[in-house]
């Protein structure tokens, strides 16, 4: 297997080459098959590696290809590091990547850019694998930029209009800010660890450093800025909802399963550095929880099916960072895995719905789809239960692990986490009920065209459904069973575990937490059921949602009143304000202002270029005078 490591990224690259260069000549089927098979190949190899690594006593090995850069003190080999962490990510990327390739086969079938689409997808997979496999920060950075570029291309895949530029530029500027942080972080590492940027060297040195070192904090914070950009954390998150404009498989692969988790991977990879800096840990945790709550609350009022999922992705990413921040590295990675399962499932399900609704994305136009799309309906239900953390579904265990650590770390964090969970459950079931239950609200011909998606789309759905059903069992809390994933990942996080050791929770606390979570989940689902199914409420049309009170007087039900009082009014208000004020004004405002500022400056500076030689000569003379004056007097 070791010899085949090189093939893992190479195969998708090959696929990109073929589909990209000969895309026009190949038939659609051929192009699709090539793209899928390459990814499948890398998946097979990764699987092999996975088992191999488990049985190595060192649990890690590096594969050197060539000396990449050797400039004086700067010695960077081009080599891959295979260890449990990278293996897990390899499996997620290639596995889910493969499913999504298959899905796209059906989804994109009548798009004229079919081959181009697959070539981009393959290219993306290549860079993502590079990002994960690299044995030093530079390779990671290369992959990092690469995936950014591909997502840029894929978001714009369907865009022919100018409105695209704005969204794209926003995505672009935010990711750039992140990259700036990342790059500076790398350079700082380079300086601090005397010219090393390889994981092995850096982490070995870091092991013996004392906690709370200033430069380490700086490094970790800079890296975290990078992570914020990629993984859409406050304040660099607004690009993700915009990115939903791309084809749905793209949203599933890039903006749910893989790319956005690159930030998590980076932090998890540098766990030892973060373990050295409590400050950074706090920052990560707080950013995470704030983002989680915030995005969840915005999700409450969205009516575009993909927007809802986008905000939920942001909030789930927030949970992962919360996990990292409170030292639950395993939990975070675990959540990455389960989230990849169910969020990919949900996106693909949404895709299938959109496909059936012939392009309609507004849930208010849907309803009662469960008869028309049985498979989609079932799988979507499973996905929803999983994300809601319904007992024994995959989301349940991973979220619980994170929350347990949060509880152990600080009760407030736990409470907020629960609050977020409540909102998540509510908006997900709102989405679910409104879409699949009730009566159909679309146009006649939409209803006429309603149809279940082709096999190539439903099969991945089912596979993912199974995964999100049972995926949780690899990481049972020790009160129930064994946490296989933890054992598997142990070697990666061993050092940082030592650094921030804390006693495990007592068992009854664990139980209490588990049960609380389950009860809350069930109750909220019941609320949602009451509200949207029994009462048959639909989300308000545009403009009404400011005065929910008007709608509530009509019904006498105590439960509804309670619900209104407890959730809807404050949350609607909050959600509304967050969306309108924070997101639209503050974040986008800042981003757009930066753009504007540059443009204005440029407009001013260009005026210097008067085209008059006289002025040019004058400027030269004046500057020479200035130079001589400054340097001599």
């Amino acid at each position: 297997m070791k010899d085949l490591v090189g093939l893992i990224p190479l195969l998708p690259l090959l696929g990109w080459f073929i589909t990209g260069l000969f895309g026009k000549k190949l038939s659609r089927t051929a192009a699709g098959l090539i793209a899928c098979s390459t990814v499948l190949g890398s998946f097979a190899i990764s699987l092999g590696l996975f088992f191999e690594v488990e049985h190595l006593e060192t649990h890690r090995f590096t594969v050197d290809f060539f000396s990449w850069i050797s400039a004086g003190t700067l010695q960077v080999p081009f080599s891959f590091l295979i260890d449990p962490l990278s293996c897990l990510f390899l499996l997620i990327i290639t596995g889910i990547g493969f499913l999504i390739h298959v899905y796209s086969f059906g989804y994109m079938h009548d798009d004229d850019g079919f081959a181009r689409f697959f070539s981009y997808l393959n290219l993306f997979v290549f860079f993502m694998l590079l990002l994960v496999l690299g044995s030093n920060y530079l390779i990671m950075f290369v992959g990092w930029e690469g995936v950014g570029l591909c997502s840029y291309l894929l978001i714009g895949f369907w865009f022919k209009n100018t409105a695209y530029n704005k969204a794209a530029n926003k995505a672009f500027i935010m990711n750039r800010i992140g990259d700036l942080g990342f790059l500076l972080g790398i350079i700082l590492i380079f300086l601090t660890f005397d010219g090393n940027i390889g994981y092995a060297e850096v982490f070995d040195k870091a092991k013996y450093m004392s906690s709370g070192d200033g430069t380490i904090t700086a490094i970790t914070l800079l890296l975290f800025i990078g992570a914020m950009g990629k993984s859409a954390q406050i304040p660099l998150y607004t690009w993700l909802p915009d990115a939903m404009a791309g084809p749905t498989p793209v949203s599933a692969l890039i903006h749910a399963a893989t790319m956005v988790t690159a930030g998590i991977y980076m932090v998890a990879r540098s766990n030892i550095l973060y373990a050295l800096s409590p400050v950074a840990m706090e920052v990560v945790a707080i950013t995470g929880i704030v983002t989680a709550l915030f995005a969840a609350s915005i999700g409450l009022l969205q009516n575009d099916i993909k927007k809802v999922l986008a905000y939920s992705t942001v909030s789930q990413l927030g949970y992962m960072f919360l996990g990292l921040g409170v030292g639950a590295f395993t939990g975070a990675v675990f959540h990455v895995m389960t989230h990849a399962f169910f969020k990919a499932l949900l996106f693909l399900g949404a895709g299938s719905v959109i496909h059936a609704m012939s392009g309609e994305q507004d849930i208010r136009k849907m309803g009662g789809l469960k008869k028309a799309l049985p498979i989609t309906y079932m799988t979507f239900l499973i996905g929803t239960l999983a994300i809601a953390g319904f007992p024994l579904f995959s989301g349940f265990f991973s979220k619980d692990e994170i929350l347990a650590h949060a509880f152990d770390h600080n009760k407030v964090l736990w409470f907020l986490g629960m609050l977020g969970a409540v909102m998540t459950t509510f908006y997900m079931f709102r989405l679910f009920f409104v879409t699949f239950w009730g009566k159909f609200n679309g146009t006649k011909e939409q209803q006429y065209h309603l149809h279940e998606s082709p096999k190539s789309m439903t099969i991945p759905l089912m596979v993912l459904a199974v995964l999100s059903l049972v995926g949780g069992f690899v990481g049972l809390p020790e009160i129930i069973g064994t946490h296989r994933l933890e054992e598997f990942l142990a070697p990666v996080f061993a050092d940082s575990k030592m650094k921030l050791f804390h006693a495990p929770l007592s068992h009854d606390t664990e139980w209490t937490l588990l049960i609380t979570a389950s009860i809350v989940c069930v109750v909220v689902i019941a609320f949602a059921y009451q509200y949207f199914v029994v009462k048959g409420r639909r989300p308000a049309e545009e403009g009404e949602e400011i005065s929910p009170l008007a709608k509530t007087v009509s019904n006498k039900y105590y439960i509804d009143e309670l619900y209104e009082a407890l959730f809807t009014k404050p949350l609607n208000w909050l959600s509304d304000k967050f969306y309108k004020i924070f997101e639209l004004q503050v974040v986008d405002g800042i981003v757009n202002e930066t753009g504007k500022l540059v443009n204005t400056l440029s407009g001013v500076l260009r005026l210097l270029q008067t085209g008059r030689i006289g002025f040019y000569l004058f400027a030269m003379v004046l500057s020479i005078i200035l130079i001589l004056f400054v340097t001599t007097f």
């Binding site: 260009r606 005026l607 270029q609 008067t610 085209g611 008059r612 030689i613 006289g614 000569l617 004058f618 003379v621």
Partner: protein
């Protein structure tokens, strides 16, 4: 006897500095391209003077040989420059450096 023995070299430095500055001033003062160009020549001559002064101060021939090359280059520049000038004049009927500002911003 050579003047460099009776006149301190810094007088020459000053002289050529003054001439040079006059040249520069002319360059930014006039608008007639030819005059501007002549002022550039003036600057070059200030440099030549400086070089010669230094060379005979150091009793080193190199300086004067360098002046040769400067002259050669000056000749070449004049040839090309005036050719360009006449070409421009032919097309725009003007050698005013400031009316020639179509390319800008």
């Amino acid at each position: 006897m050579s003047s460099i023995q009776v006149i301190p070299v810094h007088m020459y430095v000053l002289l050529s500095a003054v001439l040079f500055s006059i040249g520069v001033m002319g360059v930014i003062f006039r608008r007639n391209a030819i005059i501007v160009f002549m002022c550039v020549e003036l600057m070059l001559n200030a440099v030549n003077l400086l070089l010669v002064a230094f060379s005979s101060y150091l009793s080193d021939g190199a300086g004067q040989v360098f002046v040769f090359f400067i002259m050669a280059v000056a000749a070449a520049e004049v040839a090309v420059g005036l050719a360009i000038l006449s070409m421009v004049y032919r097309n725009t009927k003007s050698v005013d450096i400031d009316t020639l500002s179509k390319l800008k911003e």
